[in-house]
């Protein structure tokens, strides 16, 4: 029978192995984007960011949604593992959101002519980032673990309801974002070689998400296990 501490250590190790595989895959995506895809006709080299930026958006969105679901499950089942998972997923989501918010302006400068525009999806990502940054501000301000878990879950669940409203708001405000080129009712509007790199990147980001969250979950669980040993 493994102790909680050993299980946590094993999760960290597994997470790091998966994350390393993901990072290796990311190097592969860079290589594919650099060597094997042609420069895009209108955007030139700036378009290369397309192999990183939408996958990061997808990974952060997935991370936040899972954090929200785990928070709901925590309130319903009162199992602290859900809280540990929600924290892990939200933190990884913040990291991907940061990738999203930094790669966006790098592309926007040559294409839109400005580092920052108050475009709908850009604004949406920023607000979501701030929402989850607030989630961590709250977490760090509460000492009691059970209280921290409950409060964090409340904020995450309220956040899930806020998301559709923010979505509506920012779209009514302004959008100049490129329209979907892959998920469309007719066939994807980009060459196969670009599509292949793009989809590989999505798979790689999924692997990275799983790796990071597993490791981060292990770190959270290890902290709890240590607190238990110290207290007991």
């Amino acid at each position: 029978m493994m102790t909680a501490l050993e299980r946590a250590e094993r999760n960290i190790r597994r997470g790091l192995v998966i994350a390393s595989a993901g990072l290796l895959g990311l190097a592969g995506v860079y290589l594919m984007a650099w060597r094997f895809t042609p420069p895009e006709r209108f955007q030139g080299l700036a378009q290369k960011i397309f192999y990183i930026h939408p996958p990061a958006a997808y990974a952060s969105e997935m991370a936040f949604v899972f954090a929200g679901i785990a928070s709901l499950l925590y309130l319903l089942l009162k199992d602290e593992r859900f809280d540990t998972f929600a924290e892990a997923s939200a933190e990884v989501g913040l990291a991907f959101a940061l990738v999203l918010l930094t790669t966006g302006p790098i592309w926007a400068k040559p294409i839109w002519g400005a580092w920052w525009t108050w475009d709908a999806r850009l604004t949406f990502s920023l607000i979501e980032f701030l929402l989850f940054a607030g989630y961590f501000a709250l977490r760090s301000a509460v000492r009691d673990p059970a209280e921290r878990a409950r409060y964090a879950a409340v904020v995450a669940i309220m956040g899930m309801l806020l998301v559709p409203f923010i979505h509506l708001t920012v779209y009514l405000f302004n959008t100049t974002h490129p329209q979907p080129v892959v998920v469309r009712t007719d066939k994807p509007a980009l060459p196969l070689v670009m599509l292949r790199t793009f989809l590989t990147s999505f798979a790689v980001f999924t692997v990275m998400y799983i790796g990071f969250v597993t490791a981060r979950y292990g770190i959270g669980a290890r902290r709890i296990a240590r607190e238990m040993t110290d207290a007991g």
Binding site: A137, L138, V154, L172
Partner: protein, 225 residues
């Protein structure tokens, strides 16, 4: 005691305390006036006419003073652990939420009611019937974000840095109502047809309904040990 009676009793108690002290109300009002003032001085009078920024200024002022007002709501309860006393009372947790929310809404609306005529005065807004509609929009917007604020201030007050945490948590939630309300205000002041307003009013009403229900459902999670 029915939920409604209990809620009204709690709201009455809170407002009575507020009325006896008047410090919070005066401070929040003063704060609102100062925000209005800062906007007047922070613009370039030669290039930005007051009328152009009036709707935005109204909504930034109302949102910020609501934040200040909400911050003090649960601070009252923290002193002498007054909240524990209310929690011991044989009333539903929901009744406590409704009571707190009603008191907060009344407080926020009072501050807004004082700030509103001052905004008309400072920003040379032409008095017209449209202003009554703007006041209605203010009420519609306040309903939703005070519900969120009531829930969050109950949490924030039990943390370290309560005064800092509430704005950080609440401001993202104020974006949809403040945006919809200032868009509606803009159209009302420009005398646009009603057809352009419905969308914004519907968004506000939907926000109010959604967050009143969810905040009320989550409130017991926050206050129960």
């Amino acid at each position: 005691m029915s939920t409604l009676h209990a809620a009204l009793a709690i709201a009455r108690k809170d407002l009575r305390i507020e009325w006896r002290h008047k410090t919070a109300l005066l401070t929040a009002t003063l704060f609102a006036i100062l925000v209005l003032l800062i906007f007047v001085f922070a613009r370039d009078p030669a290039s930005v006419p007051l009328a152009a920024i009036a709707p935005s200024v109204l909504w930034v002022t109302l949102a910020l003073s609501a934040l200040v007002a909400l911050n003090r709501a649960f601070l009252l309860e923290r002193e002498h652990s007054a909240l524990e006393g209310i929690l011991l009372a044989p009333v539903a947790r929901q009744a406590i939420f409704w009571g707190k929310w009603l008191a907060n809404l009344a407080f926020v609306l009072t501050v807004q009611a004082i700030a509103f005529p001052l905004w008309i005065l400072f920003f040379n807004v032409t008095p017209s019937l449209a202003l009554i509609a703007v006041a209605g929009v203010a009420v519609l917007a306040a309903i939703g974000f005070t519900a969120v604020g009531t829930l969050f201030s109950a949490m924030a007050v039990r943390t370290r840095f309560a005064e800092l945490l509430l704005p950080v948590l609440l401001l993202p939630f104020m974006i949809p109502p403040v945006f919809a309300a200032s868009e509606a205000t803009l159209r009302l002041l420009a005398g646009r047809p009603m057809g352009e307003l419905w969308g914004w009013l519907r968004l506000l009403a939907l926000y109010d309904l959604a967050f009143l229900v969810l905040a009320n459902l989550l409130f017991p999670v926050v206050v129960d040990e």
